[in-house]
């Protein structure tokens, strides 16, 4: 005989299951199941519709997950059935359908990888050197991941904390001095919730940051701006925790924050905040707006799968222009690297491309058919860093020489800006070591 609590639990689970069925996702339209040849997993969860099963190799799943969105013209549309006899339609896609080879190996004096450098792990070597040289340093800031490096070379790092020890935003100078810019003590929390600074970008004058409350997943609940001259912090956008509104990570462009808000009602908006007038301005509204991105000196976002230029810069040749959201990318304002896919003859290629103003075509740095994850990490002077899934790689574009960087924890990070290279190494027990070096100290890689 069941007790009262058992009965209540059984009823609540039945009601919960019913609500899951009726909530705002739809049933698959297919009546049959067939394994397609490529993984098609969307990353736009906010209006997610069930997608079809895939039976591609398990090793492909994680790698392609981040990239598969490129081959979808509209993430809000229910997935169409796939069939083994025909490949998923690549139409309105920027993924290449022709074979990517042969590719030029040098464009405008920039070299794609051609050889393995004689130097072994030059980043770790330099980081060891800076410990004794006094230029840069290595600091044991446990649990202090890098968010970015400002345009003048200071490191922005954020922590996640509890109700009693809230997360914060710290600025770390290359000499190791650390300043806490903001502490998320103004965010109301339950005892089982965590709060932290989850994104930040800065220039010489301003730093924009996002605060997230985490219980299961993170929701951005605050956007703030730090005036580095006065030290004044202004929280200019506040949401209740677990609001149905979603704020995408903000960017700082030309001294102002820009961000996209996604509403469950279906119309999204892009905003900017003017610190002088203390006003928020709505710049664009639409049904499918992506997060703004500063690329090639301009500011862009995506609307209904097409790139919209708010301020024109120079989009590199070959940069995807008809995606649902921008691909993973990194850049220094002059050079941009990004990932994309190609599917010649039905075989998936994962590509890492480099583009600059004035280049007629993008330069393919990596063309992988093993579906390894490729995540662009940083462009620092002549160096390009990326995470190849099992290792971090650096390329010297002056020579085409590559070297492995001696750590590969997926939560380790490399960021660069203002002539500073910052490396966050996650230890096996969860500790983090932040190391900072000048990019000019890195050696020219030669074969």
């Amino acid at each position: 005989m069941s007790t009262e609590i058992e009965q209540r639990l059984t009823e609540a689970l039945a009601a919960g299951a019913d609500a899951i069925t009726r909530s705002n996702t739809s049933e698959p339209t297919m009546t049959d199941w067939q394994p397609p040849r490529t993984v098609d997993r969307r990353t736009d969860h906010r209006r997610r519709t069930p997608f079809l099963l895939v039976a591609a190799a398990a090793t492909i799943v994680g790698a392609v997950a981040a990239l598969a969105v490129f081959v979808r013209p509209d993430a809000s549309r229910p997935a169409a059935p796939h069939h083994t006899s025909t490949l998923p339609s690549p139409a309105p896609s920027t993924s290449r359908t022709a074979a990517p080879n042969p590719q030029p190996r040098v464009v405008n004096g920039i070299h794609a990888p051609t050889c393995v450098a004689r130097q072994t792990d030059p980043v770790s070597h330099v980081l060891k050197q800076v410990l004794t040289s006094g230029v840069g340093g290595s600091y044991d800031f446990a649990g202090l991941p890098i968010l970015s490096v400002t345009t003048d070379g200071d490191v922005l790092a954020g922590t996640v904390g509890s109700k009693f020890n809230p997360g914060r935003l710290d600025l770390i100078r290359p000499n190791g001095s650390r300043t806490t810019l903001y502490r998320a003590s103004d965010v109301p929390l339950d005892s089982n919730q965590n709060v932290g600074v989850s994104a930040a970008q800065g220039d010489k004058r301003w730093i924009v940051f996002a605060v997230s409350v985490m219980q299961g997943q993170g929701d951005v609940v605050r956007l703030g701006l730090v005036d580095r001259r006065s030290g004044v912090v202004t929280v200019f956008r506040t949401l209740p925790a677990f609001s149905s509104t979603i704020i995408l990570p903000p960017v700082l462009y030309d001294g102002r924050p820009y961000w996209t808000e996604v509403y469950s009602a279906g119309t999204d908006s892009v905003f900017t905040y003017d610190a002088v007038s203390r006003r928020i301005e709505r710049l664009s509204s639409g049904s499918q707006l992506g997060a703004p991105a500063a690329i090639g000196g301009g500011l862009y976002w995506q609307r209904d799968g097409r790139v919209v230029a708010y301020r024109h810069g120079t989009l590199p040749a070959g940069f995807p222009s008809s995606l649902v959201k921008f691909p993973p990318l990194a850049g220094d304002g002059k050079t941009t690297v990004w990932t994309t896919t190609a599917d010649p003859n039905g075989r998936l290629h994962v590509l890492l491309e480099l583009g600059q103003a004035g280049m007629a075509t993008a330069l393919t740095l990596v063309d992988s058919t093993t579906a390894d994850t490729i995540v662009p990490l940083a462009v620092a002077g002549p160096y390009v860093f990326w995470n190849g899934g099992t290792s971090f790689t650096m390329l010297d574009t002056r020579t085409g020489a590559t070297a492995k960087v001696g750590f590969s924890d997926p939560f380790s990070t490399i960021a660069a800006g203002g002539g500073t290279l910052a490396v966050n190494q996650i230890g096996s027990k969860g500790g983090a070591r932040l190391s900072v070096a000048r990019i000019t100290d890195l050696p020219e890689l030669t074969c």
């Binding site: 299951a17 997608f51 099963l53």
Partner: protein
């Protein structure tokens, strides 16, 4: 000259596809509900269920008893939910970027009564093992032996974990009321 498609499925592959298709049609939604109860995340739940079916399809040749396939799927979903739990814990410790695009569907809470909402919320706050046992017992309707096999624990542990979970849930509901 006859044309042969080298990518054409073999007879064994066709049989696997047909069998998994039938399981998919019959059990997909229930498995998604199970995964949502364990992860609070509809999108992640769909991923876990998708991965479970994909894994089953790959291993179909080694499945001796097709009737046991649903147990295999449940276990894969539970293990996937555990892995995602560990990943989230790590991300929280070393948060690099916001993950704003997940969580229960926006209208999920609206579709539940206050009473049911309180119970579901109480369930969410339980330790992972207790939550798993209670969901498998009271949602999936599994026996103690089946839960023990799914979670790779003893029947005694299932029994004690369920009892402790129910006690904790009852206490939490009394405190909230």
């Amino acid at each position: 000259m006859s044309l042969v498609d080298p990518h054409a499925p073999t007879a064994a592959e066709s049989a696997a596809t047909g069998a998994v298709t039938a399981l998919f049609t019959a059990h997909r939604m229930d498995l998604i509900r199970l995964a949502v109860f364990l992860t609070d995340d509809r999108a992640l739940a769909e991923d876990l269920v998708q991965d479970a079916f994909a894994a089953l399809h790959r291993r179909w040749a080694s499945v001796r008893e097709p009737a046991a396939a649903i147990g295999y799927l449940r276990t894969t979903v539970v293990n996937g939910a555990r892995a995602s739990y560990r990943r989230k814990a790590l991300v929280r410790r070393h948060l690099r970027v916001a993950e704003p695009d997940a969580g229960p569907a926006a209208d999920y809470a609206l579709l539940l009564s206050e009473e049911h909402k309180a119970v579901i919320e109480g369930l969410r706050r339980l330790p992972r093992r207790q939550r798993e046992v209670l969901v498998l017992r009271y949602w999936s309707g599994m026996s103690e032996a089946e839960i023990a096999a799914t979670l790779s624990i003893s029947r005694g542990t299932v029994k004690s974990t369920a009892a402790r979970g129910l006690d904790a849930l009852e206490r939490a509901l009394k405190e909230d009321s």
